[in-house]
């Protein structure tokens, strides 16, 4: 493989891998507090993409019920506002975050209060995911949506660096933005967890929920904060992927949701640096699948997941769990 191609693949891998990372951080946050995998995270990812799309003031396909609703309210099948993309991204993610709180109240808290088997939370969150995906289909239709072209105004769509005698390295502006936004979020999240009082409380709850609630930490509020953050990250990931390729319909978060599971297992469940590392490893791994096997790309993450589970179930960075009797 020549060096320019290598550089190009690394670049592509890092861009997609960084989105995997922030998406998987959403799973990790919830898992570290509740020891539960929130299977509706993939649906929240999709929601984030659609919310951001709405906030950019783009039109809804007439097949979606929302088009009729907006038509009645505003006389056009779109919201009467056109936010700049970065604001729409944050707004969409915040709405996804609020949805995370709703999901917590609906699917997780009632089970927790009844002291039910943690596996049931898996099923109830899957139920919520089914409902959300079909709500999206109901309101937006099953069509493919693309964000408005050229969301960054004057910035060029891509920059070509000429390679030495080979094809040029193409750096898409979107890739740079995706990577930049993701890394900023990872840094902010790390600072939040390590430097703030709420972050300290989160770490305490993830270490031992009962003791920390005895020490006066409001566990219930922290769980809400966790779900908000988790869904915020999931929503941003969805919007970024939607920006990079397009929103391929209500189901496009499901496959991504599964891949996110591979990422957190690879990195170690409930481990923040692990999730970031896992995301980048899977992103790079997929970028290096040779072109003739590209149809098998989707299997890479799961093959890695399977192998890691068998060889090192605690993940790349995780600590081995000790079975307590």
């Amino acid at each position: 493989m020549n060096p320019t191609l290598l550089a190009q693949q690394i670049l592509n891998g890092l861009a997609i891998g960084s989105v995997y990372a922030i998406f998987a951080l959403g799973y990790t946050l919830v898992f570290s507090i509740l020891r539960i995998i929130n299977f509706s995270h993939g649906a929240v990812f999709t929601l984030g993409a659609y919310f951001t799309y709405l906030l950019t003031g783009s039109a809804i396909n007439p097949n979606g019920q929302l088009a009729r609703l907006f038509g009645g309210l505003f006389g056009q099948p779109a919201l009467p506002l056109k936010l700049p993309f970065i604001l729409a991204l944050l707004g969409g993610a915040a709405l996804a975050g609020l949805m995370g709180i709703v999901i917590e109240r609906l699917a997780f808290r009632p089970l927790r209060e009844r002291g039910a088997d943690p596996l049931l939370a898996l099923v109830s969150s899957l139920g919520v995911a089914v409902a959300l995906v079909n709500l999206i289909q109901y309101f937006f239709g099953a069509e493919l949506y693309s964000y408005p072209a050229n969301p960054f105004g004057a910035l060029p769509a891509a920059i070509n660096f000429s390679g030495e005698g080979g094809p040029p390295i193409i750096v898409r502006t979107i890739q740079v933005i995706i990577f930049g936004v993701s890394m900023v979020l990872v840094v902010l999240l790390t600072l939040f967890i390590n430097r703030t009082k709420t972050g300290k409380a989160l770490r305490a709850v993830s270490e031992d929920p009962i003791t920390s609630s005895l020490l006066g930490i409001d566990t219930d509020r922290l769980i809400l904060v966790t779900f908000f953050l988790s869904s915020f990250l999931g929503g941003i990931a969805g919007a970024l992927i939607g920006l990079s390729v397009s929103i391929a319909g209500p189901y496009f978060g499901i496959a991504f949701g599964l891949k996110g599971l591979a990422v957190i297992i690879l990195g170690g469940l409930g481990d923040i640096p692990g999730a970031v590392l896992g995301g980048l490893v899977i992103g790079l791994g997929e970028a290096f699948v040779p072109a003739q096997y590209v149809a098998y790309k989707d299997a890479v993450a799961f093959a890695l997941l399977f192998i890691v589970l068998l060889a090192r179930p605690q993940g790349l960075l995780g600590r081995a769990l000790v079975q307590k009797v």
């Binding site: 609906l106 089914v130 109901y138 799961f302 399977f306």
Partner: protein, 323 residues
């Protein structure tokens, strides 16, 4: 009655097959193993039947001979069983959520493979699978005995040594190990039995659905089967059967409800277009309000109390007289 069967024949057979799939997930769960691998074996069985009936025994005109379907079911059972052993031996060292994730990965890997192997027809899949029966409701001739056999098998299993070993492992694997149960053997056995059942159901379904593609073995299917078991009840084999039937019928019931005269048009539209929204919400709400599932052993004991009571052995007289 004939009109009813014509309209709902497909649904009734689907319900019976879904009940059997619920049981296929219940079997590993009996031994406490949350495996979501059933759709993988279901897809495998279906592909075996589809390839055998379209390539190996090219259709003579008219109906497809029933013995060949039984042969396909047998091949599907053997293939699923062997694959389950190969996957299960390493994978069942994992517990709880880790095992669930490993089995999700297994299903996804199989799905990508089936999308890309030329003999399996790519994304379009295999269609025009020959029919052994003239109408879909006649598939009950296979599906119903299959379900009843599986139910009887699991019912017996719950009362023999190996079945009790499964339950012991579900309750506490370390303790079961300590009293001399071989957990690995029992877990792999439970997993393999579930896989065989799923593979056989797949072979029937391929004929029943007439077409087979990679969409049969997806994560969505894993979720559905898990919902069959957990909504129906995971502590008795009656649960997954009831759950599978109820959850398969539910979207159709919602569709039928949309057709009731006199509903406001927005409600009818919502019931028709948005019935999967309600389906998802019902799963979530059902989990919250029936954490044990709809059918629990206690409930069965209340319904069939007398019959169950006589089955427990009477106390030995010795203890009473030895005061």
């Amino acid at each position: 009655m004939a009109a009813f069967i014509n309209t709902y024949g497909f649904l009734i057979t689907s319900m019976v097959l879904a009940a059997a799939l619920g049981l296929s997930l219940y079997l590993p769960l009996m031994a406490g193993q949350l495996s979501l691998a059933s759709p993988g074996f279901y897809a495998l069985g279906g592909y075996i039947a589809a390839v055998m009936s379209t390539r190996l025994f090219p259709s003579t005109d008219g109906t497809y001979p029933l013995p060949l379907v039984l042969l396909e079911m047998l091949v599907a059972a053997v293939a699923s069983g062997v694959l389950a052993l190969i996957v299960g031996l390493p994978a069942l060292r994992l517990r709880g959520i880790y095992l669930a994730l490993a089995t999700i990965a297994f299903v996804e890997i199989l799905r990508v493979l089936s999308l890309n192997l030329p003999i399996l027809g790519g994304a379009v899949g295999i269609f025009g699978i020959p029919q052994p029966f003239k109408s879909q409701v006649e598939y009950l001739w296979i599906a119903l005995p299959l379900l009843l056999l599986a139910m009887f098998f699991v019912y017996r299993l719950e009362n023999i040594r190996m079945g009790r070993a499964f339950v012991a492992i579900r309750e506490d694997e370390l303790a079961a190990d300590a009293v001399g149960i071989n957990p690995t053997y029992a877990k792999v056995l439970a997993f393999t039995l579930g896989a065989i059942l799923a593979g056989v159901v797949g072979a029937v379904s391929a004929h029943f659905l007439n077409t087979w593609n990679a969409r049969q073995g997806t994560f969505d299917a894993s979720v559905n089967y898990l919902a069959f078991v957990l909504i129906g009840g995971s502590r008795t084999f009656v649960g997954p059967v009831v759950g599978g039937m109820a959850l398969t019928a539910l979207p159709e019931l919602l569709r039928a409800a949309a057709g009731i005269d006199g509903l406001p048009s927005w409600l009818a539209l919502f019931l028709r277009e948005g019935r999967l929204i309600l389906f998802g919400l019902l799963i979530a709400i059902g989990t919250v309000f029936f954490p044990q599932g709809l059918i629990t052993p206690n409930l069965l004991r209340r319904w069939f109390g007398r019959r169950r009571a006589t089955k427990s052995p009477p106390l030995p007289d010795k203890h009473v007289t030895q005061e």
